[in-house]
Symmetry: C2
Subunit: 172 residues, 2 copies
DNA sequence: CGCATTCACTTAACATGTTAAGTATCTTCG
DNA sequence: CGAAGATACTTAACATGTTAAGTGAATGCG
């Protein structure tokens, strides 16, 4: 048992377990993941009843507010990656919930808007969705909710510029 | 007839939709999603260099701390759904990063543990991972980080029992 | 004991996340 | 003008999220 290499460069596989890192369940990504899941768990059943996924609902909501947008801008608004958005728009268009037409000025751009049917679907989902949000707010506390969201925004801003320097210096 | 200029900005963006709901970008799920993405964006490149996804890393971390667990318990610890875990364990086992053997007492249960190779891989990733976490902590502030995590935990607890009553009354 | 239930996973099927490659269009600049 | 580069998507490929169904092994109970 006293067999222990004095050289710190030597790995000593057995020693690894003595460095457990932070308690796993308390890591920030985990906390965020669990919190978000707790929230989304409330919404999913209602959305599902209306045949919508969380992301599809995000897109419809974004479209309802913006009226008409190009795909790239919609991706930023709904916080979806291009490929995901591309697939979802294809499906939503097939279900006639959105409409698409290429911009005249720039044939590359595709302008997206919510359809009449999409508006109606939103109207049928919104009440229950709002009710759930209200209940969450009530349980957690309206003031704390605002405070939490401010902290989340601040965290986001704190990390916004992190990792840009590397790309600039290590481009290939 | 004067041919209308192809400028799309002239249609006046007709009356904004009626029921705007909360500002979309300020919804709680969105705030949580964005914050988590801002954090994970920092870790992914490093993990990727070592051939690991976020979830695979979660599993290895959980295993390193627990030594040996059954799959269901691991799912709870790593916060993964059964099917996802099942697939990932299959792959990690094929890469010899974990080991599996069915429990003697109960043939249904499968006991999972990290392998020697898995331990070494962890040791090679941990330093950079810890450095990134330290930088995030430094940028956001250690105290605020703790505060944020407490709020997240509280939010989670607030919603823990929500939605259980329905199932009890509306079982099919 | 025997059989319906429950349990611990695993498979299946479909949707999204993530990165890389492809395609068509537009822009730039010689 | 015209080829190189930039843009705005779209496809492809692989991994995970999510729900439902399947499989084999315990358990409960008459």
């Amino acid at each position: 048992m006293t067999k222990r290499p004095a050289d710190p460069a030597d790995d000593g596989a057995a020693a690894v377990r003595q460095v457990p890192m932070r308690d796993f369940s308390r890591s920030l990504p985990m906390s965020l993941l669990r919190a978000r899941e707790a929230v989304m768990r409330q919404f999913r059943p209602s959305l599902r009843e209306h045949g919508l996924t969380e992301q599809q609902w995000r897109i419809l909501r974004a479209l309802a507010a913006i009226d008409t947008v190009e795909v790239t801008e919609l991706a930023r608004t709904a916080f979806l990656l291009g490929p995901s958005l591309s697939r979802i728009l294809r499906d939503l268009e097939a279900r006639n919930l959105i409409e698409r037409k290429t911009a005249k000025a720039d044939q590359r751009r595709s302008m997206v808007s919510i359809s009449e049917k999409g508006v109606k679907l939103m109207a049928s989902v919104a009440p229950s969705s709002e009710a759930i949000y209200a209940e969450i707010t009530r349980r957690f506390g309206a003031r704390k909710l605002v405070e939490l969201q401010e902290m989340l925004g601040e965290l986001e801003r704190s990390l916004a510029e992190l990792g840009k320097a590397e790309e600039a210096s290590a481009e290939e």
